[in-house]
Every structure is written in structure tokens, then in C-alpha cells.
């Protein structure tokens, strides 16, 4: 009843091309941002930061990265975990080699290094497609994790085989390391990821995004109207890896603080992020957030419900949780194969007509 666009006339193309052309959407987004920036920080303690908000935000960034490649450009990748590892190890090497370097610069550089690695492993995509490409990126996953585990230089010859993040400040506020305040970590990630989500959205609604989608939907036609597959695919790999690399950098630097290559960046990470974009919605930035929220928060909700609510043993609850997660993914894929983003769109369309659907 309140969700109406009647009376909102657009008199130029700029307002029609705006991110949120409908006023109610703008208010809603502003409200969400206000809550996220001004309300949530007062409630964020260590548990909320490390178990809920940071995983959600950081996986959302990784999911955006993979979505640019898989959802928008149609190139399936199973190398996300490996690329996150590149971002994390670049961060580790950069912060330890250049202690005075600003942490934001470190994250961006880590992203750039990952972009380079991503382009390298993206070259096969020029000749192979679909499942075969997925297998080629799987090689990236195993090779990269093996490399970081095997070559001691990457670990700074650490005897434990772990890397750990030294404390770093931004504008005098401690962001990384065990003594950083949870609200500082949360706000830093929120702002960082908010900005990069906006940049990704801008990319996909412009020329670059359209050439990616053209390659995804019909590569031969795209080539014949003047889009170069080489350029489009490799930029998709580069930008996607840039995002995934930054996610890996935050994952290691801000959230975990210490990591061990095989455990933290294994193939499960790749699948987890892939599940996120499939459940959230392929080819949707919003879907990346929704998918990340579902995959990271669902297990916590179920665990709380089963352990605290039903008084089940923790181990039993864990088993049921994993099973239920699988069941839910299958359920959502059958009910709405286009993911949460599509459900959200349908809800908005219904809301426009409510309460008089005819």
C-alpha cells in the first residue's frame, strides 16, 4: 500500500539510470545503512564481530567477486579459496616487509596481486568453457594452496606453518591484531565493503558489465557485435580476483588474525562462496549479500536453536546443522533457482499491488 511509484516521474535519463530510481527504495536503503552504521556498533561485542558481522561482510565481498565472474560473465570458477589465499599471503608479506605501509594500501595491493594471478589462471577460459573451465580453476585452487604451504618464504619461515597478522592502525585506530576493538573492525569492514559493493554495481550497469553479460548469454553474437572475448573474459577474471583477493586479505588480516593455508583456504571455501552466489542469486550484487548472510548466519541460528532451545548435544546439533544446510540449499534451488535476489524482486512486485492484486 505504501510501496507505490505512482507520481514519481523521471524527466531525464540520469534519474532513470539512478541506482534506486524509486523513492521508497532509497529510504529503505538509507534506513538500513543508518542502522548498520549508527546502531549496530553499540551492540557489537567480540562474539557478534567474530562470529556474525565480520564473516557476513567478508564473505559478501568474496561473493561479489565470484558473482562478477560467474554470475555476470558466465565463467565458472572453483578457485575462490586459492585466490583468497593469494590475497591473504600478499597481505602477510606486505605488512611484514613494509611495516609502515598503510593497511588500506596493503589491502588494495593484495587485491591487485590477486588480480594478476587471476588473469594468469583465467587464460584457459579463452579456449575452454563450462565444466572444463571449472576443472581448470580447480587446478588453481590446489596449486596455490600447495604453493603457500610448501614454500617457506611465503610463511616467513614460521616454524608452526601459520601466518599471523601484526597489529595495524588506520587513522590511529587499531584495526587488526587481537587487541583491536570489535566495533572498529566491524565499521572498517562495513565501510570498505560498502564502497566496493557500490563500485561493483557501477561496473555491472555500464559498458564493462554489459560486455560481460553479453559474453555470458551468447559469446558468438557478442564477438560479432564487436566485443572482444579476450578482453571481456580477462577483465572479468582480473576484477573478480581483485575482489576475492581483498576479501582474502580482510579474512586473514581483520577476522582470523592468524591462518594456516590448507585449513583456512581449502576447497571448502571455494564451494562455500559458490553456494552463496547460487543461493543468493547469480548476476546480482544484492544476491551476493543475501547469499552470504544465509550461508554464514543460518548455521548459527540453527545451532542456537538446537543447543539452547532443544537441549541437544553439541555434536548432534552440528551433524543436524550440516544436513539441514544441505537440505535448505536444495529446497531453495528447487523453489527459486534464481536465488534470494529474485525472491526479493518478486516480493517488491507483489508489494506494489498489495492489497489489491487485480
Amino acid at each position: 500500500m505504501f510501496y507505490r511509484e505512482a507520481g514519481q516521474f523521471k524527466t531525464d535519463y540520469a534519474s532513470d539510470q539512478a541506482l534506486f530510481p524509486i523513492a521508497q527504495d532509497r529510504w529503505f536503503v538509507l534506513a538500513v545503512l543508518f542502522v548498520a552504521v549508527a546502531v549496530v556498533p553499540f551492540f557489537v561485542d567480540d562474539y557478534w564481530a567474530n562470529a556474525i558481522t565480520l564473516p557476513f561482510l567478508i564473505y559478501a565481498l568474496a561473493a561479489i567477486g565470484l558473482n562478477l565472474l560467474t554470475g555476470y560473465c558466465g565463467q565458472v570458477s572453483l578457485g575462490t579459496g586459492g585466490f583468497m589465499a593469494v590475497g591473504a599471503f600478499s597481505t602477510f608479506k606486505l605488512t611484514t616487509a613494509f611495516p609502515e605501509l598503510n593497511f588500506i594500501v596493503v589491502i588494495l595491493l593484495s587485491g591487485a596481486i590477486t588480480a594478476g594471478v587471476g588473469v594468469l589462471f583465467g587464460i584457459p577460459s579463452l579456449r575452454i568453457k563450462g565444466f572444463y573451465l571449472a576443472v581448470a580453476t580447480l587446478a588453481a585452487q590446489f596449486f596455490l594452496v600447495w604453493l603457500f604451504n610448501k614454500v617457506d618464504w611465503f610463511l616467513n619461515y614460521s616454524p608452526t606453518g601459520q601466518i599471523s597478522m601484526p597489529p595495524r592502525e588506520i587513522f590511529g585506530i587499531l584495526i587488526t591484531g587481537p587487541r583491536a576493538a570489535p566495533e572498529a573492525k566491524y565499521l572498517f569492514c562495513l565501510i570498505f565493503i560498502g564502497i566496493f559493493a557500490l563500485l561493483a554495481k557501477n561496473l555491472v550497469r555500464g559498458r564493462v558489465g554489459r560486455s560481460w553479460m553479453a559474453i555470458r548469454d551468447m559469446d558468438i553474437a557478442a564477438e560479432l557485435i564487436g566485443i572482444r572475448p579476450l578482453e571481456a573474459k580477462l577483465t572479468a577474471f582480473a576484477v573478480s580476483s581483485f575482489y576475492v583477493g581483498m576479501a582474502g586479505s580482510l579474512y586473514f588480516g581483520v577476522w582470523l588474525g592468524a591462518a594456516e593455508p590448507i585449513e583456512a583456504f581449502g576447497i571448502e571455501q571455494s564451494f562455500l562462496v559458490l553456494f552463496m552466489i547460487i543461493v543468493g542469486g547469480l548476476g546480482s550484487i544484492l544476491g551476493s549479500f543475501l547469499g552470504a548472510a544465509f550461508i554464514t548466519l543460518m548455521p548459527i541460528l540453527m545451532k542456537n536453536f538446537m543447543v539452547d532451545g532443544l537441549q541437544l548435544a553439541v555434536v548432534t546439533a552440528k551433524h543436524i546443522e550440516i544436513t539441514m544446510l544441505g537440505v535448505l540449499i536444495i529446497f531453495f534451488l528447487i523453489v527459486e533457482p534464481h536465488g534470494f535476489a529474485r525472491l526479493w524482486q518478486i516480493a517488491k512486485e507483489k508489494l506494489r499491488l498489495w492489497p489489491f492484486p487485480h
Partner: protein
């Protein structure tokens, strides 16, 4: 078509094109030209090599022999992106739209080769990048007006009916401001009304924008009505070339279409 239409020099000449796939010959010694500003039809029975000919012209197939002269430049073969950026646009026999994108976005992809701003500018979507996007949007809106598809601008093309999809595909080709427009069976599978609409658009494009058009079509009524000159292919060879009246009277064309048993082997 009324008689005294005047055309300029050839915009495109193909000479002695030979194209084969393995042992199968698709085109054999085909030569013809397309004059600036005309509507040129390429006709022939199924499998005559018409679509292959278009694919050679815009660089998707590379002929084993022969040369292509486009706008005064002679080369062995075209490259797809080169053809696109130098003013050749086309539509496809089986609709080749980008199904997940809206009508507007599909037509906007037609302007991709004309957009210059790099990735970083686009990510920021400020100043020059935004201005560029809006300029091209403005042009695309003219195409949308021209084709009378305002109402479906934001609809994903996968949901559109067949005739509309054909129209959007024409729009995508027009958005590139082509000098030479290749239409591969633009009226295939349409009903009479849709065909008439499409004919009107094709003639209007030719008339208003001065675009040279090469089209493949099976509907002889349409071909005879709207084309200035006709090339007839059969089994990969050119068997006739001339005005619709000349072609219609040609004995070999009639044989090719009606199927006459030859005793020469």
C-alpha cells in the same frame, strides 16, 4: 521499388571467395559488390551458402581464397571486432540476443564499440563516465522510438515474443550506427503483419539513415518488393545477379528453385 534510385560507389566488393569446411565446399568463386545506399538481397535455396557469405563479410569465417574490399581497403579476411568497429552490423538467423538482459541493455551493447571510458571511470560512475553513459542512452532511446518498442524497454528479452525479439535484434544492430547492415532472414517465421512492419523498418533505415543493407530472405514477395539488386547463390556458386526483374526471369534461377534434374553428369 520505383526505378530511378541512384547509388554511389561500391561500399563492399567480394572477389572470388572460396570457403570450405574440411571437404565440404560452402562457397566457390563467389564475387559480387554492394553499392553504397542500396538494398541488396542474397537469395538461394537452403544450403546455398547465404549465411556463410554474411559470416565471411563480417569476419566470422575466414575464406581460404579471395579478397574483400570494404570502403576502399582490400584484405584477405575481416576480423569480427574490426568489422564491427568499421561500421558493419548484423542480425542473426536464429535470434542471438542476450537473454538475461533487458531490451535497453541489449541495444546498449550495440554501442559498446563506441564507448571509450575505462574500467576505473566506470566503477566510479562520475563525471565523464556518467556523461558518456547518458549520451549513449539518449541515442539508444532514438532507436527505441524508431522501432516503436518503448513499452518493452525494461523487459528481459527472454520474455518477449518472437517478432519483438527480432525487432530488438534489429535495434541492437542499428545502435552501432552501421554503414552496412547485414540482415540474416529478418522476416523468417513472422506473420504477415510482422513482416510488413519489418519491411517498413528496413526501408526506413535505408531511406532515413542512408544505411546500405544486405539481406538474406526466403520470402520472394518481400525480396522482389524491397530490394534493388539480387544475388542468387546455389550450391555455393553465384548463378545470377541483377535487378529483381532480371533475376526472376533467369532460367538458372527458376531451375534452382523448382529443381530440375540435370543430365550433365
Amino acid at each position: 521499388m520505383e526505378g530511378d534510385r541512384k547509388f554511389g560507389d561500391p561500399i563492399l566488393e567480394v572477389q572470388d571467395i572460396n570457403l570450405s569446411f574440411g571437404g565440404v565446399t560452402a562457397l566457390e568463386g563467389v564475387s559480387f559488390d554492394i553499392l553504397n545506399g542500396e538494398v541488396r538481397a542474397i537469395i538461394g535455396p537452403n544450403g546455398a551458402g547465404k549465411s556463410s557469405m554474411l559470416n565471411v563479410i563480417n569476419g566470422f569465417y575466414h575464406p581460404q581464397q579471395g579478397q574483400i574490399t570494404y570502403k576502399g581497403k582490400t584484405r584477405r579476411q575481416m576480423r569480427p571486432h574490426h568489422a564491427a568497429s568499421s561500421g558493419i552490423a548484423r542480425t542473426f538467423q536464429n535470434i542471438a540476443l542476450f537473454k538475461g538482459m533487458s531490451t535497453l541493455d541489449n541495444i546498449m551493447t550495440g554501442r559498446n564499440t563506441k564507448m571509450r571510458k575505462n574500467l576505473l571511470w566506470q566503477a566510479l560512475y562520475l563525471g565523464p563516465a556518467k556523461r558518456e553513459e547518458l549520451e549513449h542512452r539518449d541515442f539508444v532511446e532514438h532507436v527505441i522510438d524508431f522501432l516503436e518498442i518503448q513499452a518493452i524497454r525494461k523487459t528481459p528479452v527472454g520474455k518477449l515474443p518472437y517478432g519483438m525479439q527480432k525487432r530488438v535484434e534489429l535495434g541492437r544492430a542499428l545502435a552501432a550506427e552501421p554503414e552496412l547492415l547485414l540482415l540474416d532472414e529478418p522476416m523468417a517465421g513472422m506473420n504477415l503483419e510482422e513482416k510488413e512492419d519489418m519491411c517498413r523498418f528496413v526501408l526506413d533505415v535505408n531511406d532515413q539513415f542512408g544505411t546500405t543493407i544486405a539481406l538474406i530472405e526466403h520470402d520472394m514477395g518481400v525480396v522482389m518488393d524491397i530490394s534493388d539488386r539480387v544475388v542468387v547463390l546455389d550450391y555455393g556458386k553465384k548463378i545470377a545477379d541483377g535487378t529483381p526483374e532480371e533475376v526472376r526471369a533467369d532460367q538458372r534461377v527458376i531451375e534452382a528453385y523448382l529443381g530440375v534434374t540435370r543430365d550433365d553428369n
